[in-house]
């Protein structure tokens, strides 16, 4: 099959490659861009481990072909700390503090699913949090720690911008 040349911005860096049309975005991120924070679990859209953001929206990277993101912006879990000079994102801090992970395999998917919502809402009740993370499976924690972590992160990220609207957070 003819390879197709694509240009994708991943975490702000331009990645240009010629790829087989059948290459999944998840494989492109891991094997071509060499960013292995995005984990591949089920490869059929059930587990949510491979969730990344494409043009700001969380999507499953195992259900997109790399050719489909030609010219678009992809954001992976590596961006969270990289954008803060290596310091953890408040959501990552909260997962750590609230024991929202055990083995950590599913964590990148949870983080990328939840993170864009934290910028939009002030606080979330548990039902909203559970609906938000319903597309991500965790086989270790039983979810309580994850729900606590999301609730805490939403609370922490809401407070500075609330007191100083438009100010730096």
């Amino acid at each position: 099959m003819t390879r197709i040349r694509i240009t994708v911005t991943i975490n702000g860096a331009v990645v240009e490659r010629a790829v087989d049309p059948r290459m999944l975005l998840s494989d492109f991120i891991r094997h071509e861009a060499r960013l292995t924070g995005t984990h591949v679990g089920c490869e059929h859209g059930v587990c949510g481990s491979c969730t990344v953001q494409v043009d700001g929206s969380p999507v499953r990277s195992c259900l997109l072909f790399a050719v489909q993101v030609d010219g678009r912006e992809v954001r992976t879990v590596e961006a969270l700390a990289a954008e803060r000079d290596g310091a953890l994102h408040p959501l990552q801090e909260a997962f750590h503090a609230e024991q929202g992970l055990q083995c950590g395999f599913c964590t990148p998917g949870f983080l990328m699913s939840v993170e864009p919502v934290l910028d939009r809402v002030e606080e979330m009740d548990d039902a909203q949090i559970r609906a938000l993370i319903s597309g991500n499976l965790c086989r270790c924690t039983g979810y309580e720690g994850i729900v606590c972590a999301v609730r805490e992160a939403a609370r922490k990220m809401a407070s500075p911008s609330r007191s100083r609207p438009g100010g730096a957070s």
Binding site: R22, H44, S57, R60, V67, Q68
Partner: protein, 293 residues
């Protein structure tokens, strides 16, 4: 877990897409959101020789009202439908249904046209659109035709779309004033495929008598179906707990849902009956309050 090789084309216009679909020597498949097709390809249950990626066709992504009817472009994402104030105000049944489709990540990518063309009998939107008497506009190089939902869905994962045709638009008629709606389903886990469900509408006159009812069933048959006799029995008098229960029993009377490892057919029938009875009363309440949803 990797798809078989295929040729990839990304047309820049609907005409180009239709020409690609008409290619004689190919087994083409339309790629829209890919949320059902790509899993099938990853399992190699689907092995199209050509993927026609319509994601560049921005002209197929819209939600607008023309006259009294709602028109939804085939490439509209579930998340866009979910957040449309126009839809929530005038067709709240669709808003209620789309919130139950998969998970947030699926709704960000999946398209309305893709869900319809995939024709899964447990999908929410086909059932909601059956209750709303929707039609679908399909195009090929030889022209366009509009199919009523009952002509479009022909079997499990089967539609009357021809290989050279592209679904381009969903057309939804307006609901009469004094109509309440309800979409409900039962799943074992949030976002799972439903074991059973229903979409109902109840229209009341100022005295509270039912002037029109629609009952569409999910997971009851290989396609969405309407319970016409159960609907007719509701018309002409107020909807009460007793008449809702009678109508629900009538709706499932001749059903023979599938038995599989998730549930027996008998369980599904009882489940759908309960959901219909409950939903009719909820829809009646909403019709009375004039609250759309």
């Amino acid at each position: 877990m990797k798809p078989a090789p295929f040729r990839y084309e990304k047309p820049r216009s609907v005409e180009q897409a239709l020409a690609l679909l008409a290619a004689e020597d190919e087994e083409p498949k339309v790629l829209a959101g890919g949320q059902s097709l790509v899993p099938l390809m990853n399992f190699r249950l689907a092995r199209p020789s050509l993927l026609v990626d319509i994601n560049g066709l921005a002209e197929l992504s819209y939600i607008r009202r023309e006259g009294s009817r709602l028109r939804i472009g085939a490439l509209t994402r579930h998340a866009v439908l979910e957040e449309s104030p126009l839809v929530e105000r005038h067709w709240p049944l669709l808003t209620e249904a789309v919130r139950l489709v998969g998970h947030p990540q699926i709704r960000n990518a999946g398209t309305i046209g893709g869900s319809l063309a995939h024709a899964d009998p447990t999908a929410e939107l086909p059932v909601a659109l059956a209750a709303l008497d929707a039609g679908f506009v399909v195009r090929s190089r030889s022209g366009a035709r509009e199919l009523h939902w009952s002509e479009f869905f022909v079997g499990q994962l089967q539609t009357s779309l021809q290989p050279d045709e592209l679904l381009v638009e969903t057309v939804v008629p307006a609901l009469p004033a004094g109509t309440g709606c309800r979409f409900d389903e039962f799943t074992r886990r949030h976002g799972d495929f439903a074991l059973g469900g229903c979409a109902v509408t109840v229209s009341l006159d100022p005295d509270g008598a039912c002037t029109r009812a629609a009952i569409a069933l999910l997971g009851a048959a290989p396609t969405p179906i309407r319970a016409a006799r159960a609907e007719a029995e509701l018309v002409g008098r107020p909807v009460t707990a007793e008449s809702a229960a009678r109508s629900a029993a009538r709706a499932v009377q001749d059903l023979d849902p599938t038995s599989d490892l998730h549930a027996s057919g008998e369980y599904r029938r009882d489940l759908i009956e309960s959901l219909v009875a409950r939903s009719l009363l909820t829809a009646r309440g909403r019709a009375r309050e004039g609250v759309p949803a």
